[in-house]
């Protein structure tokens, strides 16, 4: 039974019980590629594995792009 999560502003649904590392994988992202803000809190990479994603969570996945 799926759960609804907001990722980078868009509603997405995932299988329940995922942790952040698994969610990134599900999105095809490698952990070291991104910085994760989980419900407005920056999440240390070391905690991706141990941090569950639950219904209604909001995540921002950011990285560096060209800018001046």
């Amino acid at each position: 039974m799926p759960m609804n999560v907001t990722v980078n502003g868009d509603p997405r649904s995932f299988a329940s019980g995922l942790n952040v590392r698994e969610l990134l994988e599900a999105l095809g992202l490698r952990p070291q590629q991104v910085v994760v803000e989980h419900n407005r809190e920056i999440l240390d990479r070391a905690r991706y594995e141990s941090t569950p994603v639950v219904e209604g969570d909001s995540l921002e996945l950011v990285h560096f792009v060209g800018g001046g």
Binding site: N8, G9, L29, Q33, L61, V62, F64, V65, G66, G68
Partner: protein, 265 residues
């Protein structure tokens, strides 16, 4: 072109304890291609480049990240807070940038007006205080106001970055008096940020005695970004050397370059 050692003999630019041989810092935005960007950065001789913090695009190719093109081992990446209009947002972006694990440096930018992209000096000062307290090395973008510049230095900024003219305008150094005043009055490095349009703008800016220049559009939008990057590298060095050498006086009366004695009868 070989620079005779005794000529290149200029103290390196030092910011927050880190030394740079190049006094030119470049942005990584708006290039026609990533290849243009990489080659322009190389031609510029820059040792530090700015990058922005943005959402990963979950639907497009994964290749867009800047780290696919620039190696942090070889060039120092300076995350900026471009696009932020409040102190709170700027602090949030700064923290995200630091969380990437490269450094605790940030180019602080809090915009106060969308049309001119001029800084909100009130929010910039507020954010600077918060970030310095959190241990960030803050390089703060600001306007040409020496009073604000002094406050930013007092707040603990590692460098103050007044504009030459608005971001992306290419209008060059509009107010040399105020930029010179800022350099004269501050102890910390003064890096002119934004507005430089061509090599002579960079040269005349360095001749004011500032410690360095940050630019982006002048390279990205040049007809040939790589060649312009090389021009900027030379222009910055030329201006720095001219400042160190000390220019001749200006005078409105001419003075001959050849002897007036020894003329034939």
């Amino acid at each position: 072109m070989q620079t005779p050692p005794e000529l290149g003999a200029d103290a390196p630019l030092e910011i927050a304890g880190r030394q740079f041989r190049s006094r030119l810092i470049v942005g990584t935005g708006k290039y026609r291609s990533n290849d243009d960007m990489v080659r322009a950065i190389e031609a510029s001789g820059a040792e530090m480049v700015t990058v922005a913090v943005r959402r990963v695009d979950l639907d497009r190719t994964k290749e867009e990240g800047i780290l696919h093109h620039l190696d942090p081992e070889h060039i120092f990446l300076l995350p900026n807070t471009a696009g932020c209009y409040t102190a709170e947002d700027a602090v949030r972006y700064a923290r995200l940038g630091r969380a990437a694990g490269l450094s605790d440096w940030v180019k602080l930018e809090v915009i106060g007006d969308q049309r001119t992209l001029l800084p909100d000096v009130f929010a910039t000062l507020e954010a600077a205080r918060i970030l310095v307290a959190e241990g960030f090395r803050v390089l703060a973008y600001t306007n040409e106001d020496v009073v604000t510049a002094l406050r930013l230095e007092d707040a603990g900024c590692s460098a103050v970055m007044p504009l030459a003219s608005p971001i992306g305008s290419g209008l060059g150094l509009v107010n040399p008096y105020f930029i010179r005043e800022i350099k004269t009055r501050l102890q910390c490095p003064v890096i002119v940020d934004a507005g430089v349009g061509t090599a002579s703008d960079a040269c005349v800016t360095m001749e004011q005695g500032v410690d360095g220049i940050l630019m982006n559009t002048a390279l990205a939008e040049a007809g040939d970004p790589v060649r312009m990057a090389h021009a900027m590298r030379l222009g910055v060095e030329a201006g720095r050397l001219a400042f160190l050498a000390g220019r001749m006086p200006r005078r409105e009366v001419a003075v001959p370059s050849s002897p007036t004695a020894g003329m034939l009868a």
